[in-house]
Assembly symmetry: C2
């Protein structure tokens, strides 16, 4: 049975294409690694790599690309619009197939320990965090590269791995684990953004709604409609159909209708299969009944 993990490391170089290629080559070289995407942003001066492979191979790819980034990128000369603290800025691991979040946390710790052994301060974040105030990446990265020379002296910001001393060339790195995020928007037949916002507030965790749902109301100028724009940060716990039905339920109060929805970017197969299972009231469905799932597993 094929086991797959996703890793999306972010590197602090988005202008020097030849340099970026050398980093990506470290992943390309490893047989069994599928590179789904990589893109560089010149303003951000940052490259995001999306790759998938077995837990063993993906750890190897994460380590080798980070090693190359540590060799080639000098953070003391880095400028860019995107917040960053290290040459390899963040390394998140995500379960894709037949892998648990616990194994992703394990991967984050192994890779973190390796980078630490090179003299790079490493912070574990999201589901791999060792303290609650390190769960959120933004709070870990606060102060950025320049601020870390001071921040790291604070005992509360002692790294999980590596020295309690800033690495001037490579900066610091956040290594984490998280379940895949689903970006799901629902369009409403009202042009009144206040209504969309009220619905969003009722559906999201912050307002007493679903635990793993973040939501805001937006105006869709061209369509003369509005939207409840959501992030489902754990679709296995707070499901897509629950978010959809809760928006419909709240919309009813205003005589507003749902006219459509959209999935932004990629979504795990299971997040949508759960929807089909719910509406069709399927009993005892197993993911191995999906032809493509079996194919991925048995290859």
């Amino acid at each position: 049975m094929k086991r797959l993990m996703e890793c999306v490391p972010n590197f602090s170089e988005g202008r020097d294409e030849a340099l970026v290629e050398k980093i990506i080559d470290e992943a390309r070289k490893i047989e069994g690694i599928t590179i789904l995407d990589y893109s560089s942003d010149k303003d951000h001066n940052r490259t995001v790599l999306t790759m998938i492979g077995s837990p063993e191979k993906i750890k190897e790819a994460a380590i080798n690309t980070a090693r190359k980034a540590a060799e080639l990128i000098d953070m003391s000369k880095h400028e860019g619009a995107h917040p960053r603290m290290g040459a390899t800025d963040v390394i998140p691991f995500t379960p894709v197939s037949n892998v648990t979040i616990a194994e992703c946390i394990e991967a984050a710790k192994e890779v973190g320990a390796e980078l630490g052994s090179w003299g790079i301060p490493v912070y574990l974040y999201e589901d791999a965090c060792t303290k609650e105030d390190r769960r959120n990446l933004a709070s870990v990265r606060k102060g950025q590269y320049e601020g870390f020379f001071e921040k790291i002296k604070d005992e509360n910001w002692k790294p999980d791995f590596g020295p309690q001393e800033m690495n001037a060339k490579s900066g610091a790195t956040a290594v984490g684990a998280r379940v895949p995020l689903v970006a799901f928007n629902i369009n409403l037949d009202t042009p009144n953004v206040e209504i969309a916002d009220k619905i969003a507030k009722k559906v999201r965790h912050l307002g007493g709604g679903l635990r793993y749902v973040k939501a805001i109301g937006l105006k869709l100028e061209e369509r003369n409609q509005t939207q409840v724009s959501m992030n489902l940060v754990n679709y296995e716990k707070s499901a897509v159909y629950q978010a959809f039905e809760m928006v419909k339920m709240e919309a009813r109060r205003y005589g507003v209708n749902v006219v459509g929805s959209e999935v932004i970017g990629t979504i795990p197969m299971k997040a949508l299969l759960d929807v089909a299972e719910y509406y069709l009231q399927i009993e005892n469905f197993g993911m191995d009944q999906i032809l493509e799932k079996r194919l991925l597993d048995e290859q």
Copy 2:
């Protein structure tokens, strides 16, 4: 982009395990072929092989396994409960990923021509058929191996490939193309099988219902319930959600409720994603937004 076709050849040997292994080995040998399943039935004296691969590889595997079956199986000595007419009895091709039904028809013709060149009479069936009365496998196979010595003399049963003369050792083979079949059952809270049957008749093509749906009513003794048991022979044209909603609609007439449903065996991912897309009213969804689909494509 990875292109995948499924082929499920049926061989007329289910008792001699060593012989069956020699046939399966011909598929195993080919790199890039995934064998999802194979199982032999001693009463039927028959083996069903399910394999997936690129169009080129799957044709090669179909030809090589059929060649081995022609070498090792002697139909003049075959006995078994399942209807059959040849050593390789049927070879259906099915699209799985990035392949059209037209390409499956093409594959059926190529493989059929090859078997014909060995002196085996070949009939194209289902979507590959050259005459409407050859579409249905049962009508092609009618008379079975024993009856074919006479049947083949009829001009109406002149083979599509190979001689118009029965092959005593290898029999005749049906080679076809079809879209994947979805077996989908809906459970009702009534013990009255007449109601289930009336609903089935209203939903199925034969009774004026959905074009690509076959349905019957069944009693579920242990649960004291009934079931509308369906085969969706083209889920892209007559969708799972349509069948589901039509059963609910008809059940209403009798005050009967749907208590659950079940998917039997494997189902293509897209058949269930279409369901999620319908109920969530998703706009502009693309299959390449599914992480696993991209993974299969880019491997």
